[in-house]
Amino acid sequence: MTLERSDRIAVLSKTLAFGMAYLLAIVSVNRFYLTPRVVSRELSLAMSIAIVQCTTISVLLAFSFCKKLARQVRDSRAARVSPAIREFLALEAAGNDHREDIRQIQAAYPREVEECLVEFLRMVRGGGREALAQLAIDLRLIKQWQRQFRSRNLARRKKAVAHLALVPRKFAGVVLQQALSDPDESVRLHTARHMVSNLEPGELPQVFALVVNGSLVARMVLAEDLRPYALELGREVIPAVLASGKPEAVRAALDVLRAWGKFLPLPQVYPLLRHADPGIRLAALRILPLVPRFPQLEMEVLHALNDPVEAVRAMAVRIAAKFGISNALPQLVRCLHDQDARTAAAAAHALAQLGADGYRILEQEMVSGSQLAASAALEALQRLQTAPAETVAV
């Protein structure tokens, strides 16, 4: 459980405030109620602690029971009225006018109407959504959501954004733009995700900027959401980021490309194989099978096999095997004797995939190689023969 600084401060402040209130209650009960009645000071203090504790327990007890009961009542009420609401909403989305009926239901069951309307806005597209959005305006729900977005409560803000993203931008675009630069990343991410589900022209670069500048979690989540737009982003937005020279942004973009696993025409990846940052070299190598094969590929992979960083070398070994670069055999044999077990294992697997020559080398290494090389060779050969489940992922 990791919280942001502002949340941590809020949690500590609330804890201290609660503790102070508790102490104050004990002192007050002691001073104003028990001291005039009980002679012994110790006894009076002990009794005031007991009274406050008993009261707290009773309140907790009552509160948790009431909450549970309220939830059950709410659920059963929703189960009762929701079918009728849904029916009216379906008719409304189909172009009939049932606003008055819905408004009447809303007066008695506002929560249920809101939930059903949101449910419908998620499902319906085109003219139906437009009609339902208009209904949301009439029911003053959009105003309510815009108000909720200004709340300090994070959950409420996120919920408001999720709802506002469902209606056409002309009704809520300004609020969504504000939400994209919310100080809290979870709200930004939430907004971007909901915008992607209903994307309008010109919003794609804005959302991708969040991927590039956000945390790893944001990157991972949005990368999946943006998968349908990979080709579009690969035309201008991603090449611009790869050529930007900003290491964090470049690494983020390479991560996204890896996550998509889609073949994209991005020659900008090749210069990154010689980047000063080993993390970028590693990420660029990893996505090499996903970009067009250029003449310098073999030379770059052979160069990477001599990289000073173990992880980069190990990845280069895998890529060499993936592309079947037979010129890499001498380097792969050297990597098989690498002190890093991961590189040695990768080299053994690479050799196993390079056909008869690689196979012969592994057999020789099993007999005459060092202990690490021999064990890596043996494992690679055995895996090649029998184990489909344990393939080396690139």
């Binding site: 549970k68 790893l216 890596a376 494992e379």
Partner: protein, 476 residues
């Protein structure tokens, strides 16, 4: 009866005040932790995004995890546990079962159930008891079984570490069941704070009373028997109150051995699990704090309240006694091994708050509480302590216990809400009251015995009598 000498009265008065000071202090600290836990949990819940989590599951950027399951004489539950582990909702993970020289059919069951054959998989360098063989399944499942000579749980975990290749390793008891999404939840802090998180732990819940089918908990309910019900309260109190708060303060000293995820490199750098203690889980976490603080590298050790690991708790007093004795010994051993951290400026929160808390309240607490009972009774007989004050003192102390237990139940109800019916809530609340009359005092006695055994250097685990998940449910 003659009046006691003046020095006895003086002694009593000093004792009385020190008791009042101790009880008030401990109550204040427990209360602080519980309230802090409550607000931290609510803040954490507000940040959660279930939809985003579902998307994360598709991401190839999720780190790989090796689940290590040490097993010793687990013939009754091992097949089901392994099956449940192989069925988790996480894209990149493998399972490593370490048979720690079981004397029963554990190994044979594993071979038969999962079609194992010998493997040539490389083994790392950590020193363990001799390995008899490494096996893998002929089926397309990511399962490795290490068969080794008996060396204890820590030794088995180290053997698992030797075989593991993923950057993250999860230590899971073979008598536990993980919920489908548990692994994803517990890995999340590692991706939220890349390179900073060394270990994360999940919440452990009591499976007794729940329905289990094919290694999955299908219906959640409170146990009908008193002993597991009391333990349910204890688990809620410990995890939702204490650990959430300690995690908030980055001073979490214990990640339960039943379910924790670690950065593999960090454990290997720290020297693996210590085989010299029965509290290898706590000892490792304290060591990770110590090394990271000493190196002045930013780090986090995190408790995650969502992931649920279901575990079978003892239903007999005898087994519970052995378990608590072992836990207390583990605590004593871990604290003694790292006493140099105490109030040392280098060790920050763990050294200034968590370690003193564990020593004063967890290690010495049982002794102080017992001394309180003995002295009060003696004082009444000697006419030094008034019955009225003694009774009131006892009532306040019990009420405070009730308050803490109730708060834990309410915390559960306000945040996680895993027990669906009002009947369950009523049972938990009743148990929160009743456990303070007799059960808590008995545990205090056992913990005291555990402290004594720990200080004497007593070793050994003691056997846990398993009933099997499904048998357990039928009986409950």
């Amino acid at each position: 009866m003659t009046a006691p000498p003046v020095f006895v009265r003086g002694l009593y008065e000093a004792f009385e005040w020190s008791m009042i000071f101790y009880v008030s202090g401990s109550n204040a600290v427990y209360f602080f932790l519980m309230v802090l836990g409550f607000f931290a949990l609510r803040s954490h819940r507000a940040r959660q995004n279930a939809e985003a989590r579902a998307v994360l599951l598709n991401s190839p950027l999720l780190p790989e995890v090796s689940i290590i399951m040490p097993a010793y004489n687990e013939a009754l539950t091992v097949a089901q546990s392994v099956r449940s582990m192989l069925d988790l909702n996480y894209p990149h993970y493998d399972v490593i079962v370490v048979n720690d020289g079981s004397k029963d059919d554990t190994m044979r069951i594993l071979i038969d159930e999962f079609h194992l054959c010998k493997s040539t998989r490389r083994i790392g360098n950590a020193v363990t008891q001799p390995i008899r063989g490494v096996y893998r399944s002929r089926d397309p499942i990511r399962l490795t079984v290490v068969d080794k000579e008996n060396g204890g749980k820590a030794d088995a975990l180290n053997a698992g570490l030797n075989v593991a290749r993923s950057p993250l390793v999860a230590a899971v008891d073979s008598d536990s069941l993980l919920e489908e999404d548990a692994l994803l939840h517990v890995v999340e802090p590692f991706i939220e704070n890349p390179g900073k998180v060394l270990a994360t732990g999940g919440i452990i819940r009591v499976v007794n009373g729940c329905s289990v089918e094919r290694g999955r908990v299908t219906r959640i309910a409170t146990p009908s028997r008193v002993l597991p019900l009391f333990q349910t309260i204890e688990y809620l109190r410990a995890f939702l109150g204490g650990r959430v708060a300690f995690s908030f303060l980055n001073s979490l000293l214990l990640i339960s051995g039943a379910f924790g995820v670690f950065d593999r490199e960090a454990i290997l750098e720290a020297g693996g699990f210590a085989t010299s203690t029965v509290g290898e889980d706590m000892e490792l976490v304290v060591r990770l704090h110590r090394l990271s603080r000493a190196r002045k590298t930013p780090y986090l050790i995190v408790f995650v309240p969502e992931p649920v690991c279901w575990t079978e708790v003892p239903e007999s007093w005898k087994v519970l006694h052995r378990q608590r004795n072992r836990w207390q010994r583990g605590t004593v051993e871990s604290l003694m091994a790292h006493e140099k951290m105490l109030f040392h400026p280098t060790f920050g929160g763990p050294g200034w708050f968590a370690l003193p808390y564990f020593i004063v309240f967890e290690m010495l607490g049982p002794a102080v509480e017992m001394a309180g009972y003995v002295f009060t009774v003696a004082g009444i007989f000697l006419g030094i302590v008034s019955v009225k004050i003694a009774v009131l003192f006892f009532v306040v102390s019990v009420l405070f216990g009730v308050l803490l237990s109730m708060s834990a139940v309410v915390l559960e109800e306000f945040t996680m809400r895993r027990y669906p019916s009002i009947k369950d809530l009523a049972r938990l609340l009743a148990a929160a009251v009743l456990e303070n009359f007799g059960y808590r005092q008995l545990l205090t006695l056992w913990r005291l015995e555990g402290v004594w055994d720990g200080l004497r250097g007593k070793r050994g685990w003691g056997a846990m009598e398993r009933r099997g998940f499904e048998q357990n449910v039928q009986a409950a």
